[in-house]
Amino acid sequence: MKKRLWMIFGPVILACVLVLGVLLVPLPQGHLNQKTLREASVSMAPNILLGQRIKDQALKSDYVPFIGSSELSRMDAFHPSVLAAKYDRPYRPFLLGAPGTQSLTHYLDNQSWIRQYRGKKVVFIISLQWFTPKGVNPGAFQYFYSPLQAIQFLQHADSHDAADRYAAKRLLKLSPAKAHSDIREGLLDIAAGVKLGQGLNTRLAIHETLLRNEDSLFSRFTVGNHYARIQKGMAQLPEHATAAQLDALAGKIGAKATTNNHFGIENHFFSQRLGGNKLAKMRGKQATFDYRRSPEYGDFQLLLDQFAKNHIQVQFVIPPINAKWAQYTHLSQPMITTTTNKIKRQLADQGFSHVLDLTKAGRQPYFMQDTIHLGWRGWVAVDQVVDPFLTQQQAPDHYHIQPYFFSKGWANAQ
């Protein structure tokens, strides 16, 4: 009888010990091979974005974070990842972002690497489309939410810091952060300006180890493999080319890829997303779009604060909107100008001096790959600024963060 009892529960006890052992013991973080890093750098997959180990290792070598959203997935021959690999630049982009990632997601994601990346450089592509009246979409936020990064935020949060308190309040408004009781408790404390208790800190630390081990064990799997697209792009480029030659080639390739519509939109995108009667439905549809007032301005300020605290030098890029498309959908040009100026003011007032404003280039042919995403010649234009920014020594920046930019007053200012 006793023996049978052991036969039944022995394996269970063993399983529990093994699982707890693997998850709670700090595991050695061995080296991942170059191929894994190369594929992860262009995968844009949630498990990379939300994880730790792969970014840790990549950013210690030549990889530079390229933070953005959907435009990063426009991997034609002139995409930053292709150009860097083809011309063997001293840097390689690590794409951080995916369709649906906005400032708050990036702010949390950055928790996983930015403190170890102090004093280095980052490229940041801002989308005007983030600045909607309601700000970040809770569904998208949930999709890209990582409890590990939320814990890391809490572990480094200062209960007297305006930015950290603002972030805690924002996170409490969004459902996934509230789901876990310890994280919720921590956020409530920080939002209220109270230091985290000893017990809570210990619980969070245990949980962090657990999530970290989980990440280092599993994050290398389920990498979305886009590297074939990068290689395809590299094959289209000549061995050596000046910027003008690249621009001319981009125009030629762009022209070939945009033959089924008069918007200059890539053929496949046009037939898939705007085919049939979908196009007609879009006429005049964006007349009421307004990016001038949005909680996103405060969320964006979190990123600026984070960059300033970690002395990161940032090259900002504000991409244009396809002008023919904007005309068709009646998107207001004055509204776009005001929005751009507002963002630029938020940057300039606080000492962020590297800003590439392309919003006036929406009319140039083959500059955009589709409606709102950079493509061919647009990427070449980005490269002409980003490459020197990353490869040459830059004068040190002097940031002076102003808490005013967290306020509702600024979010609603015009």
Binding site: M1, R4, F9, V12, Q272
Partner: protein
């Protein structure tokens, strides 16, 4: 205050299993620690409804009072009388709270205050007692056993739906040691199979792939390969998530010395729709078979509403699955899902009769069997696509 949702995360099992150790030791020695059992069950039920969910807990208490009043009023009446009208009134009174909860979303965005996690499954149990009182298979009732049956902790939130008399037999005694060891053996197996189903496969299908497929399907719009992918993926998710949950519920029951019936038996290997319903969410489909389908059939035959026997069963199927559709919720896709399965099972019946008639000329081999499973699987997956409500988002939102 901590809140524990049943089987929601690995910690839950640790808390629960530790709390159950004294009970297990008791059962090992052939005793059921009844008071301790009540205390543990009550604590875990209370912890389901703490914090933001407190009003659900209040709703549960109110609901139990209501059901006890209805059941005992009818039991009292049934001792001396047996009129159909009072039986119907008792059943209607018993399902009344559930009807309110299910109808509320049609009229209002805020869910009904009467609702709580598990109301459907408690209603099935209450109605079953009333039905058996009517049939005379349950004669004497006491309040405590009824509450104990309805609120059996491992199955309170989502079944499997046990039967009162079967449950009573288990809960009144304790299994022999040999028998209990067999139960523990099964419990461990089910627990670990449940972990694989719910936390590995269910997670993969439901959390990793489903949102991506949904995203692509919505982006393309209309018919797309992503939608086809969504259909199969959702079906797998639905199975592994719910089968995993059911395995947990059965396993915990077994540890408590109660042999709760199983809910799934390789449903995707079913060669036809009828067989599918003998394998999928079995405790629910058997409940519907016994208390909706059979009763409808008898009612129609007794009152000679329809002469043709084949028609009778077809009408009974239609009503059966329509009720099931409405039970899932009052939305077009749940109701279409019910109608779809009614149509499928009626067609299946016609085919089975046809096959019987032409037995000589009908090939029957490995290939035809595989084909039958393949067709059934795809029909079922399509029905789950309807059930998922994704078409509603895709076409109308």
């Amino acid at each position: 205050m901590i809140n524990l949702q049943p089987y929601a995360d690995p910690q839950y099992f640790i808390y629960l299993l530790v709390a159950l150790i004294p009970l297990m030791v008791g059962l090992w020695h052939g005793h059921r620690l009844k008071v301790y059992e009540v205390l543990v069950s009550l604590s875990f039920i209370v912890l389901m409804f703490t914090g933001e969910k407190w009003h659900q807990g209040v709703a549960l208490i109110g609901y139990l009072i209501w059901q006890v009043v209805v059941i005992f009023a009818y039991a009292h009446y049934r001792k001396a009388h047996n009129q159909t009208s009072w039986f119907v009134i008792a059943v209607l009174a018993s399902i009344f709270p559930l009807v309110i909860v299910k109808l509320t979303p049609v009229f209002s965005v805020t869910p009904s205050l009467l609702g709580f996690l598990g109301i459907s499954y408690l209603t099935f149990k209450a109605v079953q007692i009333i039905m058996e009182l009517r049939d005379g298979t349950i004669k004497a009732l006491r309040v405590w056993p009824v509450i104990r049956f309805m609120c059996f902790m491992p199955t309170i939130s989502s079944g499997p739906i046990d039967r009162f008399r079967r449950f009573e037999q288990d809960v009144e005694g304790a299994p022999e040691r040999d028998q209990y060891l067999d139960m523990l053996n099964r419990a461990v197996k089910y627990l670990f199979l449940g972990f694989l189903y719910k936390y590995v496969l269910g997670y993969l299908f439901g959390t990793v792939w489903l949102p991506q497929l949904a995203h692509f399907a919505l982006r393309i719009g209309g018919f797309s390969w992503s939608l086809v992918g969504y259909m199969y993926d959702y079906s797998m998710y639905l199975f592994f998530d719910f089968a995993g949950y059911s395995l947990f519920a059965v396993a915990i029951s077994l540890i408590m010395g109660i042999d709760t019936p199983m809910n799934f038996n390789k449903p995707f290997a079913a060669p036809n729709i009828k067989e599918f319903w003998n394998r999928w969410h079995m405790s629910l489909s058997f409940w519907f078979r016994d208390f909706v389908f059979m009763r409808t059939t008898f009612f129609i035959m007794k009152h000679k509403l329809i002469k043709n026997r084949i028609r009778v069963s077809q009408v009974a199927y239609l009503i059966n699955f329509l009720v099931m559709g409405f039970w899932h919720g009052v939305t077009w896709y749940y109701i279409v899902y019910g109608l779809f399965h009614a149509a499928a099972i009626i067609i299946n019946d016609i085919w089975l009769r046809f096959k019987k008639k032409h037995r000589q000329s009908m090939p029957h081999n490995r290939f035809t069997q595989a084909l039958a499973i393949f067709i059934t699987f795809n029909v079922v997956c399509f029905s789950f696509l309807i059930f998922s409500g994704f078409l509603d988002t895709l076409f109308f939102k």
